[in-house]
């Protein structure tokens, strides 16, 4: 007997899912912004010639790249409070986990962008008498930003997907709300299919917007 799909129950509780969607977007945006800040600091630490700065930054980045995100969530929620003798709410723990993670990945994106600018540009600046900071500010960084856009967008995309892990901390993101709706309607197929579609639409929209922004930024490079 073929299964009878029934989305009516899901749509009755759609407001709950919308709350979840809003929270997902909120946590993603906050973490992206914090991640950018952290990423910039880490990138410049890694680009520095001083070992005292370079080594901790590299260790931090390598640690985050080689451990699963879910452990960061649990660590910040369960372990950090024990260490610092404080208590963290799910939102803060999730933001800390996501920001540190994305910071590590963004750092590599930023560093990669700067390093990819060919040495000829540095030479052009030096030959004109520019100082290192002037060259960085006026010539290198503007070009690097354009190059960084694709991997930056890709990383932000991954971050938005990772927000779903916040549900394991009982944070009311889209997945958690779906679990709540499911426990009230007992229709897991419709509920989870619906949020899968919602995530899909969210990410595709964000992707399209990012492509437009990218296009505008690199206008000078196209022949």
């Amino acid at each position: 007997m073929p299964y009878e799909w029934d989305f009516s129950a899901v749509f009755q509780h759609f407001d709950m899912l919308l709350v979840g969607l809003r929270n997902t977007i909120e946590i993603a945006l906050v973490s992206i912004v914090c991640g950018i800040g952290l990423g910039l600091v880490l990138a410049f630490m890694r680009l520095s010639s001083r070992r005292l700065l370079k080594f901790p930054a590299t260790a931090f980045i390598e640690f985050y790249r080689n451990t699963p995100p879910i452990i960061h969530f649990f660590w910040f929620f369960y372990a950090l409070p024990v260490l610092m003798n404080i208590s963290l709410d799910p939102f803060s723990a999730a933001v800390l986990a996501l920001s540190t993670q994305s910071g590590a990945f963004y750092a590599e994106v930023f560093r990669g962008g700067i390093v990819s600018i060919e040495s000829g540009q540095w030479e052009g600046c030096k030959a004109l008498g520019m100082r290192h900071s002037q060259a960085m500010r006026r010539i290198i960084l503007p070009q690097a930003v354009a190059r960084m856009m694709p991997p930056f967008v890709e990383r932000s995309f991954e971050l938005t997907k990772t927000t779903a892990l916040a549900s394991t901390l009982a944070y009311a993101d889209l997945l958690y709300q779906a679990m709540q709706v499911n426990s009230e309607t007992y229709r897991p197929l419709e509920v989870y299919t619906t949020i899968a579609v919602m995530y899909l639409l969210l990410l595709l929209t964000a992707s399209a917007l990012a492509r437009v922004a990218e296009h505008r930024l690199t206008a000078y490079g196209r022949a």
Binding site: G124, L128, G129, M130, H132, R222
Partner: protein, 261 residues
């Protein structure tokens, strides 16, 4: 007797174990035009790049307008050590202009912005003044109609002319050309050489590293043939290019006439 504008004494440059420049002594008077020729790996570009400290000399001194660049500090075992503060090097590079083989224009800025950038950032000029200045130099190289164009839309010859205008805008005491036409399609070479010839007619002090021997013959007041990191033969264009005295110079020049017609 005027002080030579540039003097190089016992210049050595090594890259790790590779000893590229092995004791260069050079005196450049105001208004001289020196063409440096030689095979690849002879050290021609390295020599030029040491003059404006794009490369740091391993040993030796560079004296600009009678003043030695860098500060001498006593080193280990009594040998002297030279430190080059960034501020001093920036000042030298402001006074020396360089044109690169790969142009090294800033792709995210228009032609005019490229020419203006250092005037504002390095010399601290006001933008309006910098713009007027840059426009004049770009007009001199024949690019008045390309002010708001991005480098990617220009031909190689046009890009190199922008690079020359950008260097000229800084009013350098000496112009350094590092194989300025080597990356260009053959038919674009002549427009750049014409600009360099016009600069020569203005009496500017210039050093040119090039493979264009014909141009070097007409342009230079002195030709230097560099081999194995030292000056192998030096003289007037007639002396070095038409009647070279040393065997190695003759062998080098013969390669250029092998497929002549």
């Amino acid at each position: 007797m005027t002080v030579p504008i540039l003097e190089v004494r016992d210049l050595h440059k090594s890259f790790g174990n590779l000893h590229v420049l092995r004791g260069i002594d050079l005196v450049v008077e105001q208004g001289e035009r020196i063409a440096i020729i030689g095979g690849s790996g002879s050290g021609k570009s390295t020599l030029l790049r040491c003059l404006n400290f794009m490369e740091m000399p391993t040993q030796g001194s560079i004296i600009l307008d009678g003043k030695r660049i860098g500060r001498v500090r006593p080193g280990k075992d009594g040998a002297e050590r030279v430190v080059y503060p960034e501020a001093e090097l920036c000042d030298v590079r402001e006074r020396l202009g360089m044109v690169f083989q790969q142009f090294n224009l800033f792709p995210h800025m228009t032609v005019l912005e490229n020419a203006m950038e250092a005037l504002v950032t390095v010399k601290g000029m006001k933008r309006a003044e910098a713009r007027a200045h840059a426009e004049a130099e770009l007009a001199k190289v024949g690019l008045s109609d390309k002010f708001d164009v991005y480098p990617s839309k220009l031909s190689g010859g046009q890009q190199q002319r922008v690079a020359i205008a950008r260097a000229l805008a800084m009013e350098p005491e000496i112009l350094l050309f590092d194989e300025p036409t080597s990356s260009l399609d053959p038919e674009l070479v002549v427009e750049v050489l014409r600009v360099i010839r016009a600069l020569a007619e203005e009496g500017r002090t210039m050093l040119l590293v090039t493979h264009e021997l014909g141009f070097a013959y007409h342009f230079a007041t002195k030709i230097i043939f560099l081999a194995d990191g030292v000056f192998h033969e030096v003289g007037t264009p007639d002396e070095v290019l038409k009647t070279p005295k040393r065997e190695r110079t003759q062998a080098f020049l013969a390669r250029f006439t092998e497929f002549g017609f």
